[in-house]
Each structure stands twice: as C-alpha cells, then as structure tokens.
C-alpha cells in the first residue's frame, strides 16, 4: 500500500467492507426488523388480532388459571402491553419445570446453560437471580433457533398453538419447559388458537445465528463479521475527508458521487448507532470469541459454579416462603389493588404476574414492570423490567426483595451496552428511532456494496469486466435485492400456507430460503441491470401488496386497524407499503437510467435512488 494513512485506510475499508458486506447486509436487514419481532410475530398470527386489551386482563388470566390448573405449583399471567394485545397464561405443575428441566434438558439447552453461566460475571451472578428463569428463557430462546426450532416446535404443537407465541409464553413459564400455556382474548377470556409460525423470531435469530449451521460456527461467523464491521467503521471514519463539510450533502444523479454521498450520509447521520450496535454486538459474542476470559473467572466447570449460585438463591427463596407461610393459607387477595400499587410505584404498567404455590400457605405474588428505566439495570426475566415487586397472596402485604447487587463500573458498562443492543427497554417511540437508525445502517451497507462495484466499473476501461468484478455484481443482486424478495416471500408464505399444515413454521422458513436461492440463480440468466430491475420490481410488488394480502386473508386490515387506532398491527402494513413503494420507485429510476460514463459499451450501474428509497424495511 502506497500513499498516506488515508489511502491505506481506504483500501482496508473497501476490502473489509466487501468481503463480509453481503453477510453484514443480511445481519443489518434482519436485525433491524428484529426490533419489532414481537409485533411481526403478532402480525403473523391473525388468530390473535381480535383480542382487545381490557382492564380485566389480569383477572381473566388468573381465573382461567384457577379453572384449568388449580393445583399447579405456580401460575404466570402475561398481560397485554404496548407490544401485545392478548393475555398469555402458563403454569407449572409440582415436580415439573426447573428440576425436571435440568434432568431432561436437551443437549442444546445444557450447552446454553454453560455458556450462559460462563458469560455471567461474578458481580452479575447474584443478579441473574431469578437465575432459573432467565437462563431457562434464554436457553429456550436459543433452542428455538436453527435446528432447535424444529425440535421444539414439534413439542409445542402438542400442547398449544404457535411456536412463536409459545416461545414468548415460555418466558412467563417460570423459566421451565413450557408444557402448559394458553393464549386468551384479553376482553372475553376466550382461548385463542394461533397458527404456527416462525414469526419475527426467525429473522431475529437469523441476524446472529444464521440458520441450519451448528450454533458455534454461526456465532463465530457472525462474530467475525461484526469485528470486520468495526474495522470498516473505524477505517471509514478515517477515510472520510469531509465529515462536517459533507454532513448534509446528497447529490443525486451523479453516478459514483451519489452512491458515495448516500453511503456517507447514512453512515454519518447515525454514526453513534453504528458504533454502538457493532461494539455491543461484539461484546454479546464475548463468550464465543473469548471463552478463556470467563473460564478464568468461573473455573473449568461453569455449570457447577452456576448450579451452586442457583442453589443459594433457592435456599433464600425457601426461607422467604417459610416466612410468608406463617400467615397460613387462604383465598388470594384481589389482584387489582396490588397492580395499582405496583404501577404507582414504577410509574409504568405491569406486564407479568407470577403466583407461586397458589392457594397454599406461603403463596407469593410477584409483579414485573414492562421495561427497565435505566440502561444499567439487568434485563428482567424475559426482557421485561427488572424491578419486580412481591406481595403475600393471603393478605397483600408487600414482601421486601433483595434488590440488585451493586455492579462494578465495567460490569455496568457491559450491561448498558447489552441493553442498548437489544433495546428491550425502549418504549414504542424510542423503538422507532432504533428502527430508523437500523434502516440507516442497512442502507449504509447496501450502498457501500454497490459503491465498491460502481467505483471500479467507472475506473475500468476493459471491454469486459474481470471475473471477480462480475462475481461481486452478481452477488450484490442476490444479497441485497434477493434478501428483500425472500423476506417478502416469507411474509406471503405466512398468509398463504394452509393454517393446519404440518411443520408450518418450517415451510415458512423453507419458502424464505428457496426464494433467496432463486434470486442468486436468476442473475445468471439475465443481464445485470435487468436482474436488478426485475428483483426490485418483484420485491416492491410483494411488499406493496402486503396490506392487500392482509385484507384478503384476515379481518384485521388497514381499513379496520387504522380506524380503531391499532398501530401495533397497522404499523406492519404501513411500513410494508412504504418500503414496497420505495423499492418500486428505485426500480423505475433504474429503468429510466442511461449509462452515464464515456464508455456506453458497458451496461450501466444502477443510479442511486434518494436515500429513503433504498433497501431496508
């Protein structure tokens, strides 16, 4: 490399960005959608759309539990929230759950428990105190991805409805295997039977564990891509000569210059997000990429250390139960006043109620808030708020809980970065801002990939571009436009596959990959520009028509959801519509575009559309 630091950085930026750019585009695209994975899953289960949240939701859930599981060891009610309209209940029978799970846990779960324990830092160990729950929920969460999805999906189908709903419900299930759960209408209390779907969860898992690869491999691959992204960001900042001068600059219709402007603008205007999301993503892979660090802290047997810590927690819980039991057994106090009290103390709605030993002496009601209100709070079980309140079920007396242990500074920073990456604390407005920044990141990676090609095409004088260049051009189509088409097909499959078909969730995923594969084959048979145009048109058509598809296949279309102000569902249709329109707009611009360089013999590269009209949902 000759020239100054800027040249060498530019070289580094170009190549590091290119080599993992296709993967990074997929990670950004699916990861951005994953900010709304619960909402996407909800959209993909129309059977749940009729449920309307009501103030009686908690009572509906508890009375259903008393009816179907009067003898259970614990009950859980997940209340409607700004991300869900239904009541989800689950229960754990005596002898089931934690202990049992340990015994019969699948290999995958055991492995996860290991890595979970390994990633727990000593200061945090005490704080993963509903240890079982958190670990259980996550282990399960993981088991859902990849091959796990299939295995678990089958099991769930026997007990209840959709796998994604089940997964969410499982988080309420006291952590264990979610054998027993129901989704209820939040107004009528009627039991709902949602279709099986891979939901938003598939896209979420894909963004860091890909699919069908051994988990360790996938995490290594995505981990390396993340590291490369970090290199690309830093070298990109150094390469960018006029960060401030070009801060607001976008010059459309100027070929390479326009692509560079679009790339720079989306990079610079959400730079804090890009740095945060990449660095925190890297930290989330620490236990994969640097396993020695946790081994040094927890010893060779993290599992044993973890079990030990959990045993201590359980002893403490037992003592608490004994204390509460002194008041004797009796009917449960009404839940309303307890919820009111909890909500007043947090200043936000409750999201989950857990009742241990319902009806027996020592029964305790725990109430969780919807979200954390500080980044340094550990994420509560299931990603809900961490500050839970406990009451005696007999008389409603508050029970003091040992709060979070103080964390070291390093540990707090780690927690904060983890919170920022997952954004579980984000209320809807803030979630949209994360989404917007994610769209910026997706456009940044996409324009960067195209730029690599455009830049070299404009310089090249060869009659025919070299093979490597043509390969990049070709892969760009499938990796960018193709992924969009595949995602559109995935949503269409959700509505078009018959609701009762076996392995339904798998077929949704199969549709996604079959279509994606096809988009890589398609450019082999077509000239480059035609391939771009056709795939953009197809993707645009799929997304623009999603509100229509929804109107034909469900009763919860825009005509209904907009009128009733149901933004949870309307949001999906509207974003699809806007995204699809942007894709069509881009396709039309491409059709009108004439190759601009002096060498008209070569097929022209696509003209960049306005920054908004680029791939990213």
């Amino acid at each position: 490399m000759k020239g100054g630091i800027r040249q060498s950085m530019s070289w580094l930026h170009g190549w590091s960005g290119l080599l993992l750019g296709w993967l990074l585009f997929a990670i950004f695209f699916t990861g951005t959608i994953a900010y709304f994975r619960q909402e996407v899953t909800l959209w993909m289960q129309p059977e749940l759309h009729g449920s309307v949240p009501s103030p009686r939701a908690a009572e509906i859930g508890l009375s259903k539990l008393a009816e179907v599981a009067p003898k259970a060891a614990s009950w859980t009610v997940n209340l409607p929230s700004d991300r869900s309209d239904t009541v989800r209940i689950s229960w754990r029978n005596e002898g089931e759950g934690r202990g049992n799970r340990r015994g019969s846990g699948s290999q995958a779960e055991r492995r996860d428990a290991n890595s979970e324990a390994a990633s727990a830092k000593p200061e945090q160990r005490a704080v993963i105190r509903d240890g079982g729950q958190r670990e259980g929920a996550r282990a399960r969460d993981r088991a859902r991805g990849g091959d796990g999805a299939v295995r678990e999906g089958r099991r769930d189908r026997d007990t209840a409805s959709g796998s994604a709903a089940n997964r969410d419900r499982s988080r309420g299930g006291g952590g264990g295997r979610d054998r027993n759960g129901l989704t209820l209408d939040a107004t009528t209390g009627e039991t709902l039977k949602p279709r099986e779907t891979a939901g938003g969860n598939f896209l979420y898992r894909f963004h860091f564990e890909l699919y069908a690869l051994p988990r360790a491999w996938a995490r290594w691959i995505v981990g390396i891509a993340t590291m490369t992204m970090f290199v690309a960001i830093i070298s990109g900042i150094i390469t960018h000569k006029k960060i401030f001068k070009d801060f607001f600059t976008f010059r459309p219709g100027k070929g390479q210059r326009s692509w560079l402007d679009a790339h720079n603008a989306t990079a610079v205007l959400s730079l804090p997000f890009h740095i945060m999301i990449t660095y925190s993503g890297l930290l989330l892979f620490t236990s994969t990429l640097l396993p020695w660090a946790s081994q040094a802290v927890l010893g060779d047997n993290p599992r044993a250390a973890f079990m030990q810590m959990r045993a201590a927690e359980e002893r403490k819980a037992e003592a608490l139960r004994a204390e509460v039991a002194k008041a004797g057994a009796g009917p449960m106090v009404p839940i309303g006043p307890l919820l009111e009290r909890a909500e007043r103390s947090w200043g936000q709605p409750a999201s989950r109620i857990t009742v241990s030993d319902p009806g027996k002496a020592g029964s305790i009601i725990e109430i969780l808030p919807t979200r954390n209100d500080s980044l340094t709070q550990q994420s509560g079980s299931g990603g809900l708020g961490a500050v839970k309140l406990a009451f005696s079920a007999k008389n409603g007396e508050p029970i003091p809980l040992s709060g979070e242990r103080p964390q070291s500074v390093v540990s707090s920073i780690d927690t904060a970065l983890g919170s920022l990456h997952r954004a579980r604390f984000a209320e809807p407005g803030l979630r949209w801002l994360f989404f917007l920044a994610g769209v910026g990141g997706t456009v940044m990676v996409g324009t960067g990939l195209v730029l690599w090609s455009v830049k070299r095409a404009e310089k090249s004088r060869a009659e025919r571009l070299p093979f490597g260049h043509r390969l990049v051009d070709h892969l760009n189509v499938g990796a960018i436009a193709g992924l969009i088409v595949a995602t559109g097909a995935y949503f269409w499959a959700n509505r078009l596959l018959p609701a009762g078909i076996g392995n339904r969730a798998e077929w949704e995923i199969n549709s996604f990959f079959l279509v994606w594969l096809a988009t890589f084959l398609h450019p082999l048979a077509r000239p480059l520009k035609r391939a771009w145009i056709e795939q953009l048109l197809l993707g645009g058509a799929l997304f623009v028509a999603i509100p229509l598809l929804n109107a034909v296949t469900t009763d919860s279309h825009l005509g209904v959801t907009l009128l009733s102000g149901n933004w949870l569902l309307a949001g999906f249709d509207l974003v699809s519509l806007i995204f699809g329109a942007a894709l069509l707009h881009t396709a039309v611009k491409l059709v009108r575009h004439k190759a601009r360089h002096k060498a008209p013999r070569r097929r022209g590269m696509p003209e960049p559309a306005p920054a908004v009209a680029l791939p990213a949902e």
């Binding site: 607001f248 600059t249 976008f250 010059r251 980044l375 984000a426 803030l430 801002l433 917007l436």
Partner: protein, 109 residues
C-alpha cells in the same frame, strides 16, 4: 417532550447547514457573511445543547441520552433530504419548528 427535542434538533441542524456555503446557497442564495456564519454556528450549537434537556428530564440520563442520539438522527435526515429535494421549504419549516417545540407544553397552560 421528545417532540420538543426533535423540533429543537431540527432547528439546530438547519442553523448549522445555513452556516455552510453550499447549503446557504441552496436555501437563501449567495454566500453567508462571516458574521452570519458564526451566528448560525453558535445558534446551532446552543440549540443542539438545548435539545438534550427535554430528553433527560423526561427519561433520566441513560435512557434520555439514548433518546437524544436517536432524535439527532431523526432530525438530521430530513434536513439532508430537504436540502436535496425541497430547499425552499426549509425557511418555512424552520419558522414552524419553535412552535412545534412548544406543543407539548400546551397542556400545561
């Protein structure tokens, strides 16, 4: 309150853009005088600093700053798009922004 912050940040970015030759030309024609330039820079910096206040008072430091950074992105992107496609709208929107910033306070009157 996030609306107040968004409006202030938008105004800040408009001011900062007007301090730059290229964008000054797009919006108001001609080059900015040295005095105008430094006044716009100061106003932009002050408005940016002000825009953090509603976020932090409403959400606390850690989540408030997260809001603020998100809002900076959400406020700067439209400025870029307007400068590119509809620069003539910027003065009008710039005048409307302070009013929008006051909207969340209406309920207190």
């Amino acid at each position: 309150m996030s609306l107040t912050s968004l409006a202030l940040a938008f105004l800040a970015f408009v001011a900062l853009a007007l301090a730059m030759d290229r964008h000054h030309g797009q919006v108001l024609n001609g080059r900015p005088s040295a005095r105008f330039r430094s006044a716009m820079r100061m106003a932009g910096a002050a408005l940016l600093a002000m825009s953090v206040i509603p976020c932090v008072t409403a959400h606390g430091w850690s989540i408030g700053l997260t809001w603020w950074i998100g809002i900076l992105t959400a406020a700067s992107m439209p400025v870029l798009l307007l400068l590119t496609y509809r620069p003539q709208l910027i003065p009008r929107l710039g005048l409307a922004a302070p009013l929008v910033a006051l909207v969340p306070f209406l309920s207190h009157i």
